[in-house]
Amino acid sequence: MEKQYKAIGEEAWKNNAEKINAELFIFTYGSLVVQLVKDYENYSAVNKQLDKMGYNIGVRMVDDMMARTSLERCTGFSATAEVIAKVGFKLFLNVIPTVANWSADAKEFSLILDDNPLNDFCELPPKAVADGLRYSNVLCGVIRGALEMMQMQTEVEYVRDVLCGDDVSEIRVKLLRMLDEEVPASDD
């Protein structure tokens, strides 16, 4: 099953993804974050904005991913985790994070990012590290937005970040609840 997702991700990345210049993308993201830092002058507010932006990206991206691949709705949260790592990250960033650290109730897992293109070239000023800026926090928002479109309400956050001096980057995804499909409002 895991192999199959990997193949789907590879295939979609190879055939259906348009490629852009990585530096252009990285610089764009970098200047966006720096502008937010300047405008908000508060790192936790910047984290929040990045998450919001990611959320808006995620709710669109998930449709795009589904349209480009032959994936169906996942049968369980562990399959979801695999799809995020092997198809989602592969298709949009060409990296495959490791899914690890499942909680006992199988409702929480971590994505370990060995390589994150967004982080390239970036070195945080000491103050940003001290105040907890999560440079790539946009990714958390993307995951949260995408999962919400798939009827999963989640909490996603960075728990470790190489830019803040940790040895790896780790994104924690926690499933809060499955959202019910809405039913039509009844007529009076």
């Binding site: 720096v34 830092v37 070239f121 970036c122 070195e123 940003a128």
Partner: protein, 134 residues
Amino acid sequence: MSSTYYFAIVGTNDSPLYETELGVQRDESKYLNQFIVHAALDLVDDAQFMSTACYLKTVDRYNDWNVSAYVTPSNIRLMLLHEAKADDAIRLFFTDCHELYLKTLLNPFYEPNTPIQSQAFDVKVNTLAKKYLF
């Protein structure tokens, strides 16, 4: 052979972006170093129009000191104070430092023409110095 070097990066408006003493530290020379390099900037301005290369070799002398310079296309000046002559080694050192500076420039948090405060940059300059100058 123990020798002392003083390395400085000078921004477009003649303000220092980065400076370090390499090798044996000599307290009394601190301000003198800045003074010599600053005085040499005018000569760099003259020399850069005599050559198309970035590396301008030795542009000035002061007592035992030689002043070598390297001008990037964006008019950032890398200056090195040294006693012994070693053109090739210094050229390589400058070229690698230039590359290091470019990498710093790619960091979205670094604003061009402001002092470089990164620890990593400092460490890397020292490594390069060990590699080429000592």
